[in-house]
């Protein structure tokens, strides 16, 4: 009798919680931003050179500088919120942040919960290996024979999981997911994994910093463009952000940023 009472209480509580969070529709986040005079942007500042911290502890990087300019053109103050990458989409969905820039690729699953801006830059993916790596990879699917590392929640994670593991080309046990790329790079160095599949820009940065790694493959495995993540269903905000992105692209602003952060 007591056990079923406990069970019932739990069911009711859970139902109440779930009901409370069903369908949080943001109506005109743009208005809210303009009224408040500030935009709250989420990022995961652990992904150089897109977003990271400098010596003074300030956020810096390609995405950071780009968003700073976007906010300036929106005429509002920019407030950064940093959190682990995995938490960002939920944060936009729940309205904890107004939008997020963090080297996001478009995926259908993410699109179900949030909206995307137009692509502001197109990136490629790379296979990073130790210098002593002897294999050669002509076709990206050939990487399935090695122990692979990815940053969890990224499109590279998606690609490996869908194209290799789910397709039966590689057992799940061969895949290691990391919270961050630098963790994965350490394991790459020690030989715990053979190949790190990541966005090519951070891959380049890691390669430079570690010194004993090399890239054996580069290309667009997934859709290469990166986008800003926006709240679901807010057409006006999306239009405004896209407008500014187009402006910046036309002016060459984005190209000069790329040069600054991505060149060797």
């Amino acid at each position: 009798m007591k056990k079923s009472l406990v069970f019932l209480v739990l069911i009711v509580l859970t139902a109440g919680l779930l009901a409370g969070c069903a369908g949080q529709k943001a109506d005109s986040v743009l208005d809210k931003i303009k009224t408040a005079g500030k935009v709250v942007v989420g990022t995961s500042a652990d992904y150089p050179p897109y977003e990271y911290v400098d010596e003074a502890g300030k956020f810096t990087g390609f995405d950071i500088d780009l968003m700073t300019e976007i906010a300036r053109r929106m005429g509002v103050e920019l407030v950064w919120t940093d959190m682990p990458f995995d938490s960002l989409v939920a944060a936009v969905q729940e309205g904890k942040i107004d939008m997020s820039i963090s080297c996001f690729n478009y995926t259908e699953e993410r699109d179900a919960q949030v909206d995307f801006s137009d692509a502001y830059y197109t990136s490629e993916d790379a296979f990073l290996v130790a210098e002593t790596f002897a294999g050669a990879i002509a076709d990206p699917l050939e990487v399935a024979q090695y122990k692979i590392g990815v940053q969890s929640g990224t499109v590279q994670d998606d690609w490996v999981t869908t194209e290799l593991v789910d397709a039966g080309l590689m057992p799940e046990s061969q895949l290691s997911r990391y919270e961050r790329v630098d963790q994965a790079a350490l394991d790459l160095q020690s030989g715990r994994i053979d190949v790190l599949v990541a966005d090519s820009v951070p891959a380049q940065a890691i390669m430079k910093q570690f010194g004993n790694l090399k890239i054996v493959y580069e290309g667009m495995l997934y859709t290469g463009p990166i986008n800003i993540v926006l709240p679901d269903g807010d057409a006006t905000l999306q239009a405004e952000v896209n407008r500014i992105i187009k402006e910046l692209q036309d002016e060459g602003f984005i190209d000069s940023l790329a040069l600054q952060y991505f060149s060797e």
Partner: protein, 214 residues
């Protein structure tokens, strides 16, 4: 690379860590203490509710509860990550603290309560003047363990975006590609906080010890 400034950056997260701890621990104490007395003296039905509260909150990993309370409940009440995190940790700690105090109350033998009633004290008076003072002394060792746990668990709020020690260490690790340095720094700071806390509480325990002949 200026390590000094990086270490400074990590260390400045201490203010957030302390903030979270100093909200979570006392609120856990208040709730846990009251619930413990209610559980022991409140009768069978109430005792059962307390059991559910305690079992559920202690049966789920704190980080999961943190996410539930922060993301799932944000539809109803809008809290900053700092407050959501601190309050959540406080609620979680209250369940553990309730058990600590409940055990301590039960260890003060029921006979002490009987002796107090025999002198004419009401139940409330007996609890206040006889059970509580003895119970506190019994609870201190376990409680000081819980305090250390809350300090360490405060690092969990990194996941919802509070810029405390751990999150800063992660950022520095990514920026400098020097994870060892970054995390050792974080570890040393946490260790120092826990060490100091244990020392202070050890002093308190000694001060409160009732004299007895060996």
């Amino acid at each position: 690379m200026d390590f000094g400034r990086f270490i400074q950056f990590i260390a400045s997260g201490t203010a957030y860590t302390l903030g979270v701890t100093l909200i979570a621990l006392p609120s856990g104490l208040l709730i846990g203490l009251v619930l413990a007395f209610v559980a022991v003296y409140g009768g069978k039905l109430i005792g059962k509710f307390m059991d559910v509260y305690s079992t559920v909150l202690r049966g789920i990993p704190p980080i999961v509860l943190l996410f539930i309370l922060y993301f799932v409940m944000s539809g109803t009440v809008n809290l900053s990550p700092f407050w959501a995190g601190s309050i959540s940790l406080g609620i979680i700690s209250s369940a553990y603290q309730m058990e600590i105090f409940r055990g301590a109350i039960l260890s003060v033998s029921g006979e002490q309560m009987m002796a107090a009633r025999a002198v004419g004290m009401s139940k409330m008076q007996a609890i206040r003047y006889v059970v509580l003072p003895q119970m506190i002394r019994l609870a201190i060792p376990s409680w000081s363990n819980e305090a250390a746990i809350v300090i360490k668990d405060s690092s969990l709020v990194y996941a919802i975006g509070v810029p405390e020690i751990l999150r800063r260490a992660q950022l520095i690790s990514a920026s400098t590609q020097e994870p060892f340095l970054a995390y050792i720094t974080a570890a040393l700071i946490y260790f120092t906080l826990v060490f100091i806390t244990n020392r202070v509480l050890g002093r308190v325990e000694r001060k409160l010890t009732i004299p007895a002949n060996p």
